[in-house]
């Protein structure tokens, strides 16, 4: 796998040179491969939002570099807009950014800014809407007439329509009901699988991250603490606890079973995996026939 994004000693200080100076990101270096789905977790205020905003040039790092496709994104500051089309960013509560008369136009906004037109634009908009399961008849409606969940999906579609190589989602499931979370998450996974694009997912929900991410970035106190496969990261539950994070519920249950002497491997992340392990275990002990 080739790497698409590299961070070199990246750092950011808010209000540099004023009494309100505050460090948000401190010396972060990492590499992200093409086609990976990377989760980013961290306590509130750990610097994860600032970190992702530097990846598409919305804020300029005060130290270090962001290297996209082998080129520093700030090498030519005038071309920073082109970076934003390559690295699509969905903010928290994106439904509040909708503004056009129709959903279709709103989804097309970013794609038009990118320079798409005609058939190409239409295809981009319709496939983005399809990825987020927006029914075609909704496209002619005003975005303000949609339900909360539909608005959010329309806003996400607006970023997908720009056909970015990397898609960053900041807390995409925040404030949705369990059903809505489930749907949105599976759409993100489907998008990732079918397009083969790199996806960065910032989330508070360890369950979500555990289910979908290939690798996980753990931020604490503006520093990068871990960057490893999801299994490895969640196997270090005690450490995560120090950072104010919790491993998924099911992982915790399995770990405490292991501590009580059951033969259970580390890093069980989903209920399905747990079911498999437990039924195998029970079978071995002769409790299930």
């Amino acid at each position: 796998m080739s790497e698409i994004l590299e961070l070199k000693n990246l750092g950011f200080v808010y209000g540099q040179g004023t009494p309100f100076e505050k460090r948000a990101v401190d010396n972060v270096s990492l590499k992200i491969n093409k086609g990976e789905l990377v989760g980013i977790i961290g306590h509130t205020g750990s610097g994860k939002s600032t970190l992702v905003q530097m990846l598409n040039g919305l804020i300029k790092p005060t130290e270090g570099e962001v290297i996209l496709d082998g080129k520093s994104i700030w090498a030519e500051p005038k071309k920073i807009r082109s970076v934003r089309f390559k690295v699509g960013m969905v903010f928290q509560y994106p439904e509040y950014q909708l503004f056009e008369e129709t959903v279709y136009k709103d989804i097309a906004f970013g794609a038009i800014n990118k320079g798409l037109s005609g058939d190409e634009l239409d295809r981009a908009v319709r496939s983005a809407a399809e990825f987020t399961s927006l029914k075609p008849e909704l496209l002619d409606k005003s975005p303000f007439d949609l339900s909360g969940g539909e608005k959010r999906r329309a806003a996400i579609a607006g970023v997908i329509a720009m056909q970015p190589e990397i898609l960053i989602l900041d807390e995409p499931t925040a404030g949705l009901d369990p059903m809505g979370r489930e749907i949105l998450l599976s759409q993100i996974v489907r998008y990732h699988k079918e397009m083969g694009n790199t996806v960065l997912l910032v989330s508070h929900s360890m369950e979500d991250i555990a289910r979908v991410a290939d690798r996980v970035i753990v931020m604490n106190n503006s520093k990068l603490m871990m960057f490893d496969t999801t299994k490895e990261v969640f196997a270090r539950g005690d450490e995560l606890e120090n950072y104010g994070l919790k491993v998924p519920q099911i992982t915790r249950i399995m770990q405490s079973l292991k501590q009580r002497g059951y033969d259970i491997p580390d890093g069980i992340l989903t209920v399905d995996e747990a079911l498999e392990t437990l039924s195998a275990l029970l079978k071995k002990e002769g409790k299930i026939w």
Partner: protein
């Protein structure tokens, strides 16, 4: 970015100026603004400038913030002083075409500049040291007599305090929306004026939508708590005049007296 504007911000503190009764502060401020425009010679100007400086020092707020609030109006200051410079009467000391400079014009420019600067510094001092709630509270109390002519004093001051309350919220929201639309490739930094105004639409529309949403939310929340206007309402913090306030009135009286005396004994220069 948008949040860097210092003018009109409140800095909590415990200085003498902070502890003054907001009603007294507003009255002193109004009197001071009136007296700034009654200065006609350098002596009286110096008295008002000294008074402003005293207030700034007593407020114990770093001068940097005062400079910041001046930065906002620097263009107004420059434009008005340039106009005044060329509109003087009397002996011409320099001329080029129809443009001429006179001593009178120079004096006028100096006065206008120092008056505006004093005005901005004094009003910054007021807003820096008085929280929005105190401010609207005080305005409500000061306007109370207008109730007699059925002027809705309480409603107006409630609207003011709500508006002030949402200024930082809306600024923050503007910031967020700008980031979000930039992430979708909105271009707000280049292009001519028409292009730039058009580029504001993706920010203004959602901003208005959210402002209305917040307004509805606030109205509902107020109704849920049985808000029914000002009649019969008591206050959590009642305002009291203290010795400190009396001292501020005396200081103001001295300034007024000083300016009047200067104006009588020294000839006007503008």
């Amino acid at each position: 970015m948008v949040r860097d504007v210092a003018f009109g911000q409140y800095f909590p503190g415990k200085s003498i100026i902070h502890r003054l009764d907001p009603r007294g502060k507003i009255l002193v401020f109004i009197a001071f603004v009136a007296i700034i425009f009654c200065t006609f010679n350098y002596c009286s100007l110096a008295v008002t400038a000294a008074f402003t400086a005293m207030f700034l020092i007593l407020s114990k707020i770093p001068f940097k913030f005062y400079f910041k609030s001046l930065k906002v109006i620097i263009f107004i200051v420059i434009i008005t002083s340039v106009f005044n410079l060329f509109y003087g009467t009397g002996d011409v000391i320099w001329q080029w075409g129809i443009i001429k400079i006179t001593w009178n014009g120079i004096h006028r420019a100096v006065f206008v500049t120092s008056r505006i600067i004093c005005l901005i510094l004094a009003s910054s001092c007021l807003t820096f040291t008085t929280s929005p709630t105190e401010l609207t509270d005080a305005i409500e109390r000061l306007m109370k007599p207008l109730n007699v002519i059925h002027f809705p004093v309480h409603e107006i001051s409630m609207m003011m305090s709500l508006a002030l309350r949402f200024v930082p919220t809306l600024l923050e929201e503007t910031d967020k929306l700008m980031q979000a639309q930039k992430a979708r490739g909105a271009d707000m930094e280049t292009g001519n004026i028409f292009k730039r105004v058009k580029a504001l639409i993706p920010i203004l529309v959602p901003l208005f939508v959210s402002a209305f949403r917040r307004a509805y939310d606030i109205a509902t929340a107020m109704e849920c708590r049985c808000y029914r206007g000002g009649t019969g309402r008591t206050r959590m913090k009642s305002l009291h005049l203290s010795a400190l306030d009396v001292m501020s009135f005396i200081a103001m009286g001295l300034v007024i007296g000083g300016v009047i005396v200067c104006n009588i004994f020294i000839p006007s220069v503008i």
